[in-house]
């Protein structure tokens, strides 16, 4: 059988959007998108149209994560089909607007790619977030980006978990990609974090340009960290946290956590150990926004995903 049978032919990715300010206090994306709205030269390519877009402008104006509810959890089918009534939370109305402009989610009219720019207080470095282990276009794109960024590390987080997966802003597109760069405090702009995110996007757009021009990308493998479990802080009966992430775990995103390793430290100095049977790779360790979502960190397991060769389908 000819090797041509193992090449996946995919639709051209002509319509690309870059979202900043999905959370109004995650500054890299906000500043990048505002810069590109004013002068788009850097993000222009010949074979695609790139739209920079501020997803949650009211939250950006107040430099707060959200006004009524987290926009990045709001793109459920229930919300997207909710009737326009008074009293609808701001972010639900906004989700419907975004779905109109860049979707509808799940339809053939939806944007091809959306990059959603985020920062985290966790020491995650540069992270690319995928929602599907079978999206070949996305797998090849993250492979390209990782190679281009080397020796700077880009980790890949895969959230395909049936319960922990959530309805993101970017999920409106056919190929959603989350960019998460940290550590950076909310409301703060760090130059190194800003420039890392800018460079990731440059490589991503270069990939799409090459793909749209007919370049064939050979089969590849991508190491990903697959979301397993959400670990909350120990709490008292009133729901207040009774311990902090242990100094041995703090800032150790993507490093192995083994049974018996220190995990939390109580305010009066007692250590709580990780009791899980197998080694996990924690991430989103001590993210500010997740205290209210009952999450101290997420556990992941390492996996190698394989992707077929891809090229643009001929019309």
């Amino acid at each position: 059988m000819s090797s041509r049978a193992n090449i996946s032919c995919l639709q051209e990715a002509k319509r690309v959007a870059i979202f900043g300010g999905t959370h109004g206090n995650e500054m890299s994306g906000i500043m990048l998108v505002n810069m590109w709205i004013e002068n788009a030269a850097e993000i222009e390519r010949n074979r695609l149209v790139t739209k920079p877009f501020i997803s949650n402008p009211r939250a950006v104006e107040k430099c707060t994560r959200y006004i009524n509810t987290d926009l990045n959890r709001a793109f459920t089918s229930e919300n997207l089909s909710a009737p326009d009534v008074e009293g609808l939370p701001y972010e639900v109305r906004r989700a419907k607007e975004i779905n109109q402009m860049f979707g509808p989610k799940g339809s053939s009219d939806a944007y091809d790619v959306i990059f959603d720019l985020h920062n985290t207080t966790s020491n995650m470095g540069s992270t690319l977030i995928l929602e599907s282990s079978t999206d070949l276009f996305n797998l090849q794109m993250v492979h390209y980006i990782k190679k281009a960024m080397a020796p700077h590390t880009c980790s890949v987080l895969l959230n395909e978990h049936p319960q922990l997966k959530y309805s993101t802003t970017r999920s409106v597109a056919k190929h959603p990609i989350g960019l998460e760069v940290g550590p950076q405090p909310q409301g703060v702009l760090r130059s190194n974090v800003f420039e890392s995110m800018r460079t990731i996007l440059k490589h991503a757009l270069d990939f799409i340009e090459l793909f749209n021009s007919g370049v064939e990308f050979p089969p590849c493998t991508v190491e990903v960290f697959r979301v397993q479990e959400r670990m909350d802080y120990p709490r008292d009966t009133n729901g207040n946290i009774t311990a902090m992430v242990h100094p041995h775990l703090q800032d150790c995103d993507w490093e192995p956590l083994n049974q018996g390793d220190p995990m939390f430290l109580t305010f009066d100095g007692r250590t709580i150990l990780y009791e899980g049977a197998s080694t996990v790779y924690p991430t989103f360790i001590n993210e500010a926004a997740y205290y209210e979502k009952q999450q101290a960190f997420m556990t992941t397991c390492r996996e190698i995903l394989a992707a077929n060769a891809i090229r643009k389908a001929f019309k």
């Binding site: 405090p185 100094p247 305010f267 009066d268 205290y291």
Partner: protein, 314 residues
């Protein structure tokens, strides 16, 4: 060296959550309240009052509800008439002044330690208004010898107490304990325990002082606030056009000399320090200062000479 004989210190107030999202102080005050429930007033060798300064802001994990409470303790705000529609923090500042003050009176509490965090890489910084409060300066000197995990620095604002606007100015000898770097809304174990040690050592000093220990004077280094520098901004929209330069980021209290990089613009240009006088930047890239138009403050390094102190005997 001649000793200064100073009155014993009666009571210390430890205040957390003056800014509701600076979490080390919030959790430390809660932990101290838990210890008091468990051990009663014997929890500490001196009388300690614990205060959650801005409970509504703490509940919402925000710096403030209506206005920055740590700017509400000047005389004008403390004496202004309030109604139901007045700003929450103004009400609360007046309540705290009643509880811990009245500011400037003989009834004011002896000492307030106000607990803060910063997103800047300032280690442990002790902040107060004057260069002549020997009690405060001796506590700083004591903390510098006892705490070695992080740099311990002294910052003086040189503002007359009558103009002072922050919470600790309500007491007779007040200072702020500022620990960073920590993102707002996050509690880091390492930062929490540095703050706890600073509070524990402050209590320790007061107890030793009250018990008659002689604390030797001498020279100590302090940083005095000179002025603030804002970010480069677009003149029409006022949005930032540059970020703190990577070579300045996290280098609080370094020496800035003419020609050193300050900002890196989004278009790749470096903005440099143009002044003749070398100064020390601090509060570099503090989140809460963007809205105040401050990228960093600049300070001059001083040597202060403090006398030996011991407690006045009756």
């Amino acid at each position: 060296m001649a000793s200064a004989f100073l009155p014993a210190l009666g009571r210390l107030a430890v205040c957390g959550g003056t800014h509701g999202n600076e979490l080390s102080g919030v959790y430390l005050v809660q932990e101290m309240e838990r210890q008091r429930k468990e051990k009663g007033d014997d929890a500490w060798p001196i009388p300690v009052t614990t205060v959650l300064s801005n409970p509504r802001a703490v509940k919402e994990c925000r710096r403030y509800i209506d206005t920055d409470m740590n700017r509400c303790f000047n005389r004008a705000t403390l004496s202004s008439p309030t109604t139901d529609s007045s700003q929450y923090e103004v009400h609360r500042a007046q309540e705290l002044n009643n509880q811990l003050g009245l500011k400037g009176s003989a009834d004011a509490i002896d000492m307030i330690c106000d607990l803060h965090n910063t997103t800047s890489n300032m280690g442990l910084t002790l902040i107060h208004y004057t260069t002549s409060d020997w009690v405060n300066l001796h506590i700083c000197k004591y903390l510098q010898t006892k705490i070695t995990k992080v740099p311990v620095r002294v910052l003086v604002l040189d503002v007359p107490i009558s103009d002072a606007y922050s919470l600790e100015s309500v007491s007779k000898h007040g200072f702020s304990i500022e620990v960073g770097p920590q993102p707002h809304g996050v509690v880091r174990a390492d930062i929490y325990f540095i703050m706890k040690e600073a509070v524990d050592m402050t209590i320790d000093w007061i107890h030793k002082f009250n018990s008659g220990t002689v604390f030797e004077g001498g020279d100590m280094e302090a940083f005095k606030f000179i002025k603030s520098i804002d970010y480069p901004r677009n003149p029409e929209t006022l949005t930032l056009t540059a970020a703190i330069h990577p070579q300045l980021q996290d280098r609080d209290f370094c020496l800035l000399k003419r020609g050193d990089p300050l900002f890196l613009s989004f278009s790749g240009e470096t903005v440099k320090y143009e002044e003749e006088e070398p100064l020390h930047p601090f509060f570099i890239n503090e989140c809460a200062y963007y809205e105040k138009g401050i990228a960093f403050h600049l300070a001059k390094k001083l040597t202060l000479t403090i006398p030996t102190v011991q407690v006045q005997k009756h």
